[in-house]
Amino acid sequence: MLFLYNIIIVPIIAILIGLLFLGIARKVTARIHRRYGPPVIQPYFDTLKLLTKEDNITHGVMYMLGPAIGIAGSLLTLFFIPIGKYALFSMHGDLILVLYLGVIGSLGMALGAGDSGNPNAAIGVSRGLSLMLSYEFPLVLAIVGVILKYNTTSISAIIQKQVTSGWWAIFVIPLSALVFDIALQGILGEKPFDIPIAPHEINSGPMVEYGGKYLGMLQIFASLHLFTELALFVDLFLGGGANIITFSLKMLVVFLLAIFINAIMPRFRMDQAFKFYWKWPAILGLISLIFVFI
């Protein structure tokens, strides 16, 4: 019973917190721009409005299934990541599984956008997949550093070892944490890596033909995606959390760092982003691996 309860309650909490974080991001960005900014709960208004809009277009079956696959992939990832004390599925090797599952959501969105037949969407999808290829390499280097340091591939065991030793991994292997944080900027699609969704160049990229309830589902997907990736960072480097509140606060700190960088940076070109990711974070990640071996 408790298991089923968790399966229903955890995604709802994740969506609500993710949407709240998107609202905080808009408010903080506005304050940095010296504007007043929208209310913090603005993404709830937006999502509910989008879900109540009528739809008078369709672009095929995959166009409709794309957002659903995205949400399903994100939910699946969410169940394997311990959130506070909730660890729904915890087993040996789930860190490697999470690395694979994390891609499904973005691929679902890419499939849906590809079916919409808009050239801007096709450019956005190709840029998104190239960006994924760029940040996955430093991401894997950072995670391998964590795995070697704690000699386990279970996220719960990594949290347990951090809590018992009293030192969070961000103090033990700071370089790996830095590399993961740089990769996180690309995963979340914040500037300077918001190349796939560049509203000024390619009309918001993959979402260009999405509207109404499909865009609302993509909002929900974005909030879930945000939540899972931040939760993974907090679990691996900040020692998890005793309850959902401290866990959310740690996630908020990580997210605010990304937002501050987002608010003041311009955008990379695709080749610049690729070169950046395969150069500096990769070198830092390799140095971190050497430190872990010694």
């Binding site: 007043y36 929208p38 409005k49 109540t52 918001s204 979402m207 999405y210 509207g211």
Partner: protein, 177 residues
């Protein structure tokens, strides 16, 4: 049940608090939009942000005079937007032609070709006037009076006839289409 919720009071309240503009600018009125979006006035505090694609937008701003050539694109854009959608006529050019009232290349009354929910008078309307218009549109949406998109469906024959007439005249003048 879903249908009654869609047009219901709660849904209308959310719609009034999240109006997404289409980033589509005609004429000189567009120059008043950057001041109203940036730090001094900040449209975003009412939940109003510009969107890049017509599928995502709720509000179509006709910012200023509309040449016949642009009218065709505006109509295509308007028909691509998802219901419910609203049109704001911006400046005196959309009301009676303004200073271009006798031009051969512009239309005079926007209401003949597209259903307009709110007009902003003036040439140019200041950001304060734009805010007043958006708040009026929000009030209309909450009361369920912003029904331009429904009128467009009901009176489509009339709108279509007016549009065809102006496109035909343009063909005679410029020898196109």
């Amino acid at each position: 049940m879903l249908e009654s919720f869609r047009g219901g009071k709660v849904a209308r309240w959310f719609k009034g608090r999240s109006m997404w503009l289409l980033h589509f600018c005609t004429g000189c009125g567009a120059i008043e939009l950057p001041p109203s979006m940036t730090s001094r006035y900040d449209l975003e505090r009412f939940g109003i942000i510009p969107m890049a694609s017509p599928r995502q937008a709720d509000v179509l701003l006709i910012t200023g005079y509309l040449s016949v050539k642009t009218l065709k694109r505006v109509i295509t854009t308007y028909e691509q937007m998802l219901d419910p959608k609203y049109v704001i006529g911006f400046g005196s050019c959309t009301i009676n032609g303004g200073m271009y009232w006798d031009s051969y290349a512009t239309i005079n009354k926007l209401d003949y070709y597209l259903p307009v929910d709110v007009y902003i008078s003036g040439c140019m309307p200041a950001p304060d006037a734009i805010f007043a218009a958006f708040l009026e549109l929000r009030e209309k949406i909450e009361k369920g009076e912003a029904n331009g998109y429904k009128l467009y469906k009901i009176h489509y024959e009339r709108y279509k006839a007016n549009q065809d007439k102006v496109f035909k005249n343009r063909g005679i003048i410029e020898g196109e289409d």
